[in-house]
Subunit: 216 residues, 4 copies
């Protein structure tokens, strides 16, 4: 009634048991979203899935929003971690292939969660900021790669690296989503191959000193 929150602001759990429950709720929350979508994402569903009582939810999270933010953060971290390409890989085309393969592999579920948030019901400023950060990570990384190739004389110098990264990154992102939704099961490895060839051709990638642009 018009008064400030009087309830205990949830604090980080101090005991092992507390941490277990806390983590279980995040895992359960993610699972609920993935399986039942927005409509199913209720504190009740989450606690039931985690096997704890209703009230326990608010021992660890201020609100549904709060849990959502943490789920998104976790999904984003996971996506980014899993889609990093090792520095030891030198060949530009191989790097493209690897990046695409990892992206498609990594983003099945995580991307689904992120999309749901993006186009779903609830977007406060915190979440919007989080999503923009994630996008910026991918766009920036893609633009850097393109710029390096241009500087090495390996890619079309007329392309704006950032616009190109937005476009080609969008291609891969969108394909990742479609794969998870299409009825027709796509051969993922074949799609990785196509995406890589399209990406390479699009930026005019050529093997140093070679006439052929992409491996046959």
């Amino acid at each position: 009634m018009g008064r400030a929150r009087t309830n205990p602001a949830p604090t980080a759990p101090t005991t092992a048991r507390g941490r277990r429950t806390h983590d279980a709720l995040i895992v359960a929350g993610r699972q609920v979203i993935e399986e039942h979508g927005w409509a199913g994402f209720t504190p009740e569903a989450v606690t039931q899935t985690a096997g704890v009582s209703y009230g326990t939810f608010y021992t660890y999270f201020e609100s549904k929003d709060d849990l959502l933010r943490r789920i998104v953060q976790a999904a984003a971290d996971e996506m980014i971690t899993e889609s990093l390409v090792p520095d030891t890989l030198d060949d530009p085309y191989a790097r493209i292939v690897e990046a695409n393969r990892r992206y498609l592999a990594a983003t099945g579920k995580a991307a689904k969660v992120l999309r749901m948030v993006e186009h779903g019901a609830y977007l406060d400023d915190n979440l919007r900021g989080l999503l923009l950060e994630i996008r910026e990570f991918y766009v920036g990384r893609g633009a850097d790669g393109i710029r390096r190739l241009q500087e090495a004389g390996l890619a079309d110098p007329d392309l704006d690296p950032r616009l190109t990264a937005i476009a080609l990154g969008g291609m891969v992102e969108q394909v990742a989503v479609v794969i998870n939704e299409l009825r027709e099961p796509l051969d993922t490895e074949k799609m990785v191959d196509h995406l890589s060839r399209l990406w390479a051709s699009a930026i005019g990638l050529r093997a140093p000193g070679a006439g052929r642009r992409i491996p046959a």
Copy 2:
């Protein structure tokens, strides 16, 4: 949503005034979704935006779902109509440019609405079917175009037309959506240029008898 209905089934409006109200509600509904997302899409908001009383909603629509279906249908029709490229345009590259320009111009918001439905709370079989149809329209059209170019010896014959269409179509679709969400204002015409060059390069489009793949 999903409650049994006991309401009189709304009938198609018979008077001119009825049709006007009906259409105004669809327009208002679309506007509400675009501007306020799912959270704002309530009968209350829609009727207020349309300037009619609350109860009028159910004079014309069985339910929120019902209106949603009609909004999606309208958005899809509009997208498809506006993104058709006239047959009179012969030059392949010019057709690509034109298709991309029209897509970006016409469909940013419509695509956003479709995405929302896709990832939003409510996806009944009707809606899912509708979305698949729309996607199939674009993918099919893109694949046909690529296949024709391949047959004419103007595009890389090693590419699977369908996979390629999914990937490149996804690129344009994703860019269309992103443009409306990014903080940085993109120069649309420059983006059209980039998308077109990327698309053309990606499929190895070459002007008949020319060495250069894309216009400078």
Copy 3:
């Protein structure tokens, strides 16, 4: 979920039926508070008492707080209106008697509601302001009366009118509360007599040109 209120902000009812329901809810709310105290003041109890459904509460009031504010406002208005002493009454002592009689008569229930708010669970800034206003009304009126008597040479000139009004007003206010709570039934008219004599003696009120301070 972190979004602004999307629900219709309740608007003043436009139809007669609406006004009836609105008023019934305020009456019911007041009755619930008086009879069951804070613990019983729930939207459910209020709507049941008013004979409407639960949801109707939020057709007219933004929140429990909102209704509470209106109840307090109504109680205050009622108290103030009923405790006004007609200007036609000239004799100072008679005015004191009349003011006390009206105060005790008027404030049984209203004062109970106000006390509950004051010492009860919920005091946001709006309510606090409202209560201060009410108090100020009584203190100001009392101080004015005392000052006038002092200027007419009818009351002890050494008294600070404001402090005196706070003290004597508090006396009457407190007695009003006690009357409603004590087991022992007090003779109200006798109490009015005592309060008036105490008040008059306290300020040294003397009839013009008379030795006796108060009527026997």
Copy 4:
């Protein structure tokens, strides 16, 4: 509140540490009520203020009600103890002054706590009885004092001692509470002076053999 209890009944603390914790909780509880009112009075807030863990609450108190009763009892004891006027003080007016000074000094907050209980959410028979006792103590003491003065010919014999004590006691009590709530800071000593003069004049107190009723 009002739930059946299955908890082990807390036992009186046996160790020094136990007593310290027990007392700290009562002090903290009182502080919480005074500062944050009913809304803030939660086991959580009390234990935090006392610097002990949540669960410890129920080591010492059966319930919130239980703590409340002890707080009220402590506040009452304190009020009564601190407002006792030493028997060595003989002069009637000086006794009035001293009683008022002590009451204002000691009991503003305690009185507020008692009021809160009175008008707050929870009033079981135990509490009600306690409050009536406290009131009776003050009313009885006041009435006795007035009766003695009347018998000594020092006060208006027409006044009903009990009614007068209720009224004048209410005056002081109310002022004590109001002082803590008013925006305008009152000069307490000046208020003591006024209260005393008003009280004395009201009962017609006159110094034996003196014409002036109250010190100038």
